[in-house]
């Protein structure tokens, strides 16, 4: 009894220790986290100031010492004696700033989030794996290893990351590990492949086939083709109309028989349609300097830590500066002394669905081409934090994985159940070779060769060289399709519906030194209908591309600053077109509507941060689309459909005022175009008043849009930057929306002397540590539409007052 009494406090102490050493739901381990000797207090980093500091770090595996100098933005400039050391240093230094992000993103890509967050991550993880993310990464890794240079890069990069991981004690772990209470595991080259494949997920996983089939089933082919046309009413394609074709096309496969299919249903969010990008290059005869200038701003989900990490990588045969993607070797978008390049996404259709007919419930065989064929199976194991492991079987036909069986619930509403997925992201590929060679390219021929290795996600690679060339290749591996193949769900039993090979890479759309003196892309249609192959029926709306092309056509004496102006252009070309059409339909508006109309009439059509007109217009577009189409196209949430595009709506207003679609089928009355416009105006003004009070400064565009750069952990507002005062919009050149926007802005002016001038910025900072001043220090510059001069050094000893820190990595 006495012993129990005297040991009782000890039991309490032990229990308290246990309780404070582990996480409870979302509450992190309080003892470990708050201990100033171990927890978050250790993660504070003060800004560097004064004379550059010098430091030497020992790293196993280096052949020779590597010199690293950091500038005031925190960009490491890396000087190595060979490629191996260069990539080892790249891995090490990237991990030093971004380890948690690298691992978290690859965990996400590989469907392993539930290992960190537990059961709530399982549905997303299963979706990733069912879509074949791990399978695709394995295939792609096989391809990458075939190129010795890429293989060296992957291995050395991985060694570098691991050298950093093994140098860390628990108390030095990045903050997020402490908050979520786990530890980094060893990096492997396949993680780099997973990261690259995840870019296909981000950029090339959009699929409307299911919704199109649902529309086909409800309204028939004629209506589907009329409302969802295969080329927009208004477009300014990437490859200028009339560009010469320098190849002899291969024969196009015959179309398979029409297939209606079963369609299907379900619900939850999809790929953000606002992810897109701009790039362009202007030739020397349009610039003040007489040499080309290149500009690029890839639009992605705005996140912290940033998706990009700037670096300068120097070794014999290479001196390249640009943005890298934490998790993969090489610079992805950048420049060297001779050339510059950038990318935007290509919206071609590289993802199709095949309705599967299994023989029986065992799913061992499926019907194809008049025979029963064997499925293959892949077992995926899930380790779920706080729960038992889960095992999942994925069935594959020769097309690819059956993502959801017909009785399962899909994770996203656009994913059909009972269908096999044929996707370019599952092909063996060599993207790393492309970037390795681009980093070292000297001229157009080098660039062209580098692109021939690239598969996915397809990109518009813009290019400029100091020899005066500008070019753009719409580049990637494109299936050789019959016209419209894969616009709708396909018949998995019909061999004629299979992909029949690929378009020869040399036939990919391209243009070099066009007469108009510039090349550009903004995710719009790659080509006009005269191009001999079918690439896809749906691309990003044409507005950004049209605006960029109309500006570049008239701009002369171009400087980097005038292109910076264009990157930040907030002019609303859609409003210019649509507003007069809408004004003409307005009849007897009430007081609030009249006030809104007055604001629109005096609006300068610029989506500036403070603009009230921009808010009313953008909200009107949404309510107009809803008022016009939702009665027919979102009547049944179990049969998801898309609304026709805004481009089609504008065409309808202009030339089909009596179309059946104007009538709201949910009311007994027969509505006219004017009725629907008024209904949408009412919904627009009512919703703004309801959510933001009466019309006034509270309706400023930036307050409604609420652009934020959010931490990768959902809901982690404390580590995010919200409500950033910035203009723009989804169809604006400055494509900043609530969650997406220009994730990296780059402008490069080439020079004959090999001293290019470059400016860039991204909405974040070099460090992934929320305790560092470099965590988000570039966001304000970015929001103001300004750029930072990029420091391009010739040697580690070059003098510059911008250097803050020198590190020697030695073996």
């Amino acid at each position: 009894m006495k012993i129990i009494k005297s040991a009782f406090p000890l039991a309490i102490a032990l229990f308290l220790t246990y309780a404070m050493n582990q996480s409870w739901g979302t509450v992190p381990p309080l003892g470990k986290l708050f201990s100033p000797f171990h927890g978050f207090w250790m993660n504070a980093e003060s800004p560097e100031s004064g004379e550059p500091t010098e430091e030497t770090l020992q790293i196993a595996g280096l052949h020779q010492p590597v010199q690293v100098v950091y500038d005031e933005m925190g960009v490491p400039h890396v000087f190595a004696k060979d490629d191996h050391d260069l990539f080892l240093a790249q891995g090490y230094l990237t991990a030093k700033d971004r380890l948690w992000q690298m691992e978290f993103q690859t965990h996400f890509a590989g469907g392993r989030i539930s290992e960190i967050v537990g059961e709530k991550g399982v549905a997303s993880d299963q979706f990733q794996r069912r879509m074949g993310s791990v399978y695709g990464a394995e295939k792609s890794f096989e391809g990458m290893k075939e190129d010795p240079a890429a293989n060296t890069a992957l291995q050395a990069y991985s060694d570098g990351v691991n050298a950093y991981i093994s140098s860390l004690s628990d108390r030095q772990l990045p903050l997020e590990y402490k908050l979520l209470d786990y530890k980094p595991e060893r990096w492997t080259p396949i993680k780099s492949a997973l990261f690259l494949k995840n870019m296909s997920f981000v950029l090339a996983s959009g699929t409307d086939d299911l919704k199109m089939t649902n529309i086909l089933r409800k309204y028939g082919r004629e209506v589907a083709e009329d409302l969802f046309p295969n080329y927009p009413f208004q477009e300014s394609p990437i490859i200028p109309v009339g560009s010469p074709v320098d190849f002899k096309p291969v024969p196009i496969p015959a179309a398979a028989a029409d297939f209606i299919g079963l369609g299907s249903s379900m619900t939850t969010p999809e790929k953000d349609p606002n992810i897109g990008s701009n790039n362009w290059a202007v030739s020397g005869n349009k610039t003040v300097s007489g040499l080309p200038i290149l500009a690029n701003d890839p639009h992605l989900t705005l996140s912290l830590p940033s998706i990009w990490y700037q670096m300068q990588l120097v070794a014999p045969g290479v001196n390249v500066y640009g943005s890298t993607m934490p998790g993969t070797p090489n610079v992805i978008i950048g420049f060297n002394k001779d050339v510059a390049w950038g990318v935007t996404n290509v919206g071609s259709d590289v993802l199709d669905w095949y309705q599967v007919k299994f023989k029986d419930a065992s799913k061992q065989e499926y019907w194809h081409d008049g025979k029963w064929k064997k499925t293959t199976m892949r077992i995926e194991k899930f380790q779920i934090k706080g729960k038992k492991d889960m095992v999942d079987t994925i069935f594959f036909t020769h097309h690819g994985p059956v993502v959801y069986l017909s009785h399962e619930k899909a994770f996203r509403s656009n994913i059909p159940v009972g269908h096999a997925l044929r996707w370019i992201a599952h092909e063996k590929s060599q993207e790393l070779t492309t970037f390795y060679q681009l980093n070292r390219a000297k001229n157009y021929e080098d660039y062209k060769k580098a692109l021939s290795f690239y598969s996915a996600p397809a990109q518009n690679f813009v290019f400029a060289s100091n020899e005066g060339d500008i070019a753009l290749w719409v580049n990637g591996k494109f299936p050789l399709k019959s016209k419209l193949q894969g616009k709708y769900l396909l018949d998995g039993t019909d061999a004629a519906a299979d992909w029949q090979g690929f378009i020869p890479q040399a036939h990919n759309p391209h243009v070099k030194n066009p007469e108009r003196g510039f090349v550009s892309s903004a995710n719009q249609f790659s080509v006009d209908p005269s191009y001999p192959y079918y690439l896809g029926w749906q691309y990003a709306p044409a507005e950004r591309g049209r605006r960029i092309n109309e500006r570049l056509a008239v701009m002369e004496k171009i400087t980097m600053d005038s292109l910076r102006g264009l990157q930040n252009d907030n002019f609303n070309i859609r409003a210019r077109e649509l507003l007069p059409l809408l004004f003409a339909q307005v009849k007897s508006p009430n007081a609030a509507q009249s006030k809104a109309l007055a604001a629109l009439k005096s609006w300068n059509l610029v989506n500036s941060p403070e603009s009230v007109g921009a808010t009313i217009f953008e909200n009107w577009v949404i309510s107009l689309q809803a008022s016009l189409w939702d009665d027919e196209f979102s009547a049944d949430e179990k049969v998801p459909m898309n609304r026709p595009a805004m481009d089609r709506t504008i065409q309808l207003i202009k030339s089909e005022p009596a179309a059946r679609w104007w009538d709201d089928v949910k009311t007994p009355k027969k509505e006219s175009m004017s009725d629907i416009v008024m209904k949408s105006l009412q919904a627009n003004v009512d919703s703004l008043v309801k959510h933001h009070g009466p019309q006034g400064p509270e309706w400023a565009w930036y307050k409604i849009k609420q652009t934020g750069v959010r931490h990768l952990i959902p809901g982690m507002d404390a580590l995010s930057r919200l409500n950033i005062p910035i203009g723009g919009g989804g169809t604006i050149v400055n494509a900043t929306t609530t969650k997406t926007g220009p994730s990296w802005r780059l402008i490069v002016e080439l020079s004959k002397e090999g001293k290019p001038k470059a400016y860039g910025v991204y909405p974040g900072g070099q460090s992934g540590n929320p305790g560092s001043s470099h965590y988000d220090d570039l966001i304000d510059t970015w929001a103001k539409g300004e750029l930072k001069p990029l420091l391009y050094l010739a040697s580690p000893d070059e003098k510059s007052n911008r250097l803050r820190k020198k590190i020697t990595l030695s073996k």
Binding site: F34, F37, W41, S46, A718
Partner: protein, 113 residues
Amino acid sequence: MNKLIYGLILVVIGALVGIYLPWYAMGVAFGLIAFALNMPLKSSFLIGFMAGYLLWIFSALWLDMQHPSTLPGRMAQVFPLKGNVFALFMLTGVLGGLFSGIWTWAGARLRQK
């Protein structure tokens, strides 16, 4: 020995243990010291609490002065303290104090037959 000296011993040992060992070693060390020095049971919790409280709060303050950053402000939002950094320091101290106090008390109690 008076309370102040006990407290000083705990602070010094706590700092050393904190620098070299896992975070919970501080508690175990305090328990052992309380046991070895036969600390008065009545004031043991208070002595331990004050030692842990002061050690954690001043270490956190020192780190924050060495590396001024926005991190405390952010952490005061991660935890629902409305961004109040003062409250974050207090919370750090109280957690350190509670943990140390209980262990010191446990050590002292074990020694009492």
